[in-house]
Every structure is written in structure tokens, then in C-alpha cells.
């Protein structure tokens, strides 16, 4: 009974957090982009435009859902749902504080990667089911990109597993009580952030929804709240990958003065801010450059990094 109550409570909290967090992140993105471009950004709806994204979401509630007649009906309906469903699962193992984690599974790291790896199935499904040439190209590119960047992501987190001697995310955070791993593994951090950017389709790597060439990429045919769900899951993936980066490299909930969850959220939002900052700095990579960058630069570098870490462990054995 107690367990049931715990499941329901954690579900409600996670769902509420996902919705509010993505709305806030969209607002933050618009504000950051505006400031970088010397604009003001959302200003009039609510306090400093904070209700702007809320208005957008409400508008989508009242927007017609179009079912294109040439599409694959079942897959078209399932695609946004399948891209949203794994989002909640990834929150299971993220250690927001010392004891503030829903389920501290011993394969936590793998679970997060498994759930975030599921996202591109929804994306490719959307691209295929729409029966639209832009969507299909977007979906194809998305899959090529996601599978290319999955490998450096996993390889760079291997270093952390070696350092912390555990898959459990809270153990990894505990191992960084004195020194965050970003100081010991700067190369792994850079590789991780780069591939996390690509995994969540953010701008230097947002080929799947490149507006200048593919209209809106895989969600060209999606209207209203179906598109909104893609949007929510995209932003939540950004948040999840920055949470994982925080737990793996930035020392998680460790920090002076403030309580653990405050440090964790601050660090995670800082990583999100860096992701947005990168987005509004760099232009989009070309599709072939993007994939060759993963295979020719990131993967050799991360393989090299693993061997270096293994050697270092060997040397520091005593």
C-alpha cells in the first residue's frame, strides 16, 4: 500500500515537473535567444512573458488535429506518443539529491541511456508515417545522427564508470564528493556534451528539423498538440541529458551552503543554458559533416580516452 502511494506520488510529481519544466525551458530559450540577438523576447504575456509558453500550450489545446489522408494511420498516431512515453522513465534514476531519487537502480546509467535511446524510434516513426518527403528525409537523417552519436555518448560515460566503479548514479555522485569528474575527465565531458547535443537534436546538430532545408523535418505533418508533444519531449530530453551530465561530471548534488537538490538543479539548468548558448552561437552542420564528425573525431577520441583512463587506473593501483 505504501509502495503504491509512492508510485502514484512520484508519477504525479514527475509528470507535473515534465510539463512545467518544458514550458519554462521554452521560455528560457526564447529569452536567451532574444538577449543574444539584442532583442527583448517575450515581454507582455504575464510577468516578463513567463506565461507566454503557457499561452502557446493552451492555444495548442484548442487547435485542430489534422490527420493527413496519405499517412500510415496507426504509426502516425503512435509516433508522438512513443517519443513522449520514455521521457518519464528516464526520471526514475536521476539523483536530484542525496536521497532524492525515485528508484536508485543499480543499472541507473544504462537505464537512462536506454530510455533516451528510445526517443528516435518515435522520431523516425513520425518521419516515415507522414508520407511526406521532407518528413522522411528528416526521419532518416535523425536516425543516422542518433545512432552515430549514441556510441561516443556511451564510450565517454564508460570512463566515468571506471572512475566511480558503479553504474548506480547516486554512487557516481558520491564518488565526486571531493573532486568533480569534469576536472579529471575534461575530454570525456566535451565528448559527452557534444553527443548529448546531437542526441537531443539541438542546433549545431539539428539536421532532422532543419528549418531552412526540410521545412520542419519529421514533424512537418504534425499539428496542434501532437506537435506540442514532440516539443515537450525534445526539451525534456535536453533537460535529462543535462541532468545526466550533472550527475556524471559536475558533482551532482554536492556543493557548499545550499541543500543538495538546489545545487543539482542549479547545475542542471546551467548545462541547459550552455546548450542554448551553443545553439544560438553555432550554425547548423551539413548532414555529411555531422555524421563524419561523430565517426572520425568523437569515436577515435573517446576510444583513446578509455585506454588512457584504464592505464591511469593501472598506474594508480597502489
Amino acid at each position: 500500500m505504501n509502495e503504491l502511494f509512492r508510485i502514484i506520488l512520484s508519477l504525479v510529481i514527475v509528470i507535473g515537473f515534465v510539463l512545467i519544466n518544458s514550458l519554462v525551458l521554452v521560455w528560457l530559450e526564447r529569452k536567451v535567444s532574444a538577449r543574444i540577438q539584442l532583442r527583448r523576447g517575450p515581454l507582455y504575456v504575464g510577468w516578463f512573458g513567463l506565461l507566454q509558453t503557457f499561452a502557446d500550450a493552451l492555444k495548442m489545446l484548442g487547435k485542430e488535429l489534422i490527420f493527413p489522408k496519405n499517412c500510415d494511420k496507426v504509426l502516425y498516431f503512435l509516433a508522438p506518443i512513443l517519443s513522449f512515453a520514455p521521457v518519464l522513465g528516464a526520471f526514475l534514476v536521476i539523483p536530484f539529491g542525496q536521497h532524492l531519487v525515485i528508484q536508485d537502480l543499480n543499472i541507473g546509467l544504462l537505464l537512462v541511456f536506454a530510455f533516451s535511446g528510445l526517443s528516435f524510434i518515435g522520431i523516425f516513426m513520425a518521419g516515415w508515417a507522414s508520407n511526406n518527403k521532407y518528413s522522411l528525409l528528416g526521419g532518416m537523417r535523425s536516425v543516422a545522427q542518433n545512432i552515430s552519436y549514441e556510441i561516443p555518448l556511451l564510450l565517454s560515460s564508460l570512463n566515468i564508470v571506471m572512475m566511480a566503479k558503479s553504474f548506480r548514479l547516486s554512487d557516481i555522485v558520491r564518488a565526486q564528493a571531493h573532486v568533480p569528474f569534469i576536472l579529471l575527465q575534461p575530454l570525456a565531458f566535451i565528448i559527452f556534451i557534444t553527443s548529448a547535443l546531437a542526441e537531443s537534436n539541438r542546433t549545431p546538430f539539428d539536421i532532422p528539423e532543419a528549418e531552412s532545408e526540410l521545412v520542419a523535418g519529421f514533424h512537418t505533418e504534425y499539428s496542434g498538440l501532437r506537435f506540442g508533444i514532440f516539443f515537450i519531449s525534445e526539451y525534456t530530453y535536453v533537460f535529462i541529458s543535462s541532468c545526466v551530465a550533472t550527475a556524471l561530471f559536475l558533482g551532482g548534488s554536492h556543493g557548499p551552503f545550499l541543500s543538495g537538490w538546489a545545487w543539482f538543479l542549479m547545475k542542471a539548468y546551467f548545462v541547459v543554458f550552455v546548450v542554448m548558448w551553443v545553439r544560438w552561437t553555432l550554425p547548423r552542420l551539413r548532414s555529411d559533416q555531422l555524421i563524419t564528425f561523430a565517426w572520425k573525431v568523437l569515436i577515435p577520441l573517446s576510444l583513446f580516452n578509455i585506454i588512457c583512463t584504464a592505464l591511469a587506473l593501472q598506474l594508480l593501483k597502489q
Binding site: 485542430e64 543516422a144 521545412v215 576510444l303 593501472q314
Partner: protein, 120 residues
């Protein structure tokens, strides 16, 4: 308790699915609807589409998928190996890891040499 842990994963996934279904179905009640001949047609910048989009696709994507499969499985192999190595770092294990990663790197070098990564 430990078997209970994984119930969370299942429950979260299922609830995620249900929530998304409910979420995508609310506009059906709230939104106005309209009908039209062109409304549900495929978007192609205002043109009528010619043929289906479900066509044969560039083979290089397929090659990427193949190397990915090989690499991904090997990375998953590396995870437990690296974990046990980090707990008790023996020299012979280091050698094995280096050989394993060396073979991986050779596969990468082969694919690189064959020109899979350069698009034509």
C-alpha cells in the same frame, strides 16, 4: 524489494503512454474542426505531391546502421568488463581491454579506409 524496483520502470512507461494518448486526444474535444478536400493532403509547399514518399533510400544510411550495430553491441560488452576492471585493476585485464579496443579501432579504420564516412 529489489524485484519491486523494476515495477516502477514498467509503470512509468505505461503511464507515459496513457498520458500521451490522453494529451493528444484532448484537442478533439476542445478544438474547432473543419473539412476540406485539400486540408488533409500532404504538405509540399502548396504543390500537389507526385507519388508516395515511401521510396527506396540512399544505401549509405544502411551502412551506418551496420557499423552502429557492431559498435553498439561491443560498447555494451565493454560496460561490465570495464566495471570489473575498475574494481580490481590487473595488468592482464588492461591488456585484454587494449586488444579489444584495438580491434574496434581496426574496424573503424577499415570502414574509414573503405570510404563509408565520405558521402558521395
Amino acid at each position: 524489494m529489489s524485484s519491486n524496483n523494476y515495477i516502477y520502470v514498467l509503470v512509468f512507461f505505461v503511464v507515459g503512454l496513457l498520458f500521451a494518448v490522453a494529451f493528444t486526444c484532448t484537442p478533439l474535444i476542445l478544438s474547432p474542426r473543419s473539412r476540406g478536400k485539400k486540408k488533409t493532403s500532404t504538405y509540399e509547399s502548396g504543390e500537389d505531391t507526385l507519388g508516395s514518399a515511401w521510396v527506396q533510400f540512399d544505401v549509405s544510411y544502411y551502412l551506418f546502421a551496420l557499423i552502429f550495430l557492431a559498435f553498439d553491441v561491443e560498447v555494451i560488452f565493454l560496460f561490465p568488463v570495464v566495471l570489473t576492471y575498475s574494481i580490481a585493476p590487473l595488468l592482464i585485464d588492461l591488456l585484454k581491454i587494449v586488444i579489444f579496443i584495438g580491434i574496434l579501432a581496426l574496424a573503424l579504420a577499415y570502414a574509414w579506409r573503405k570510404g563509408i564516412f565520405s558521402w558521395k
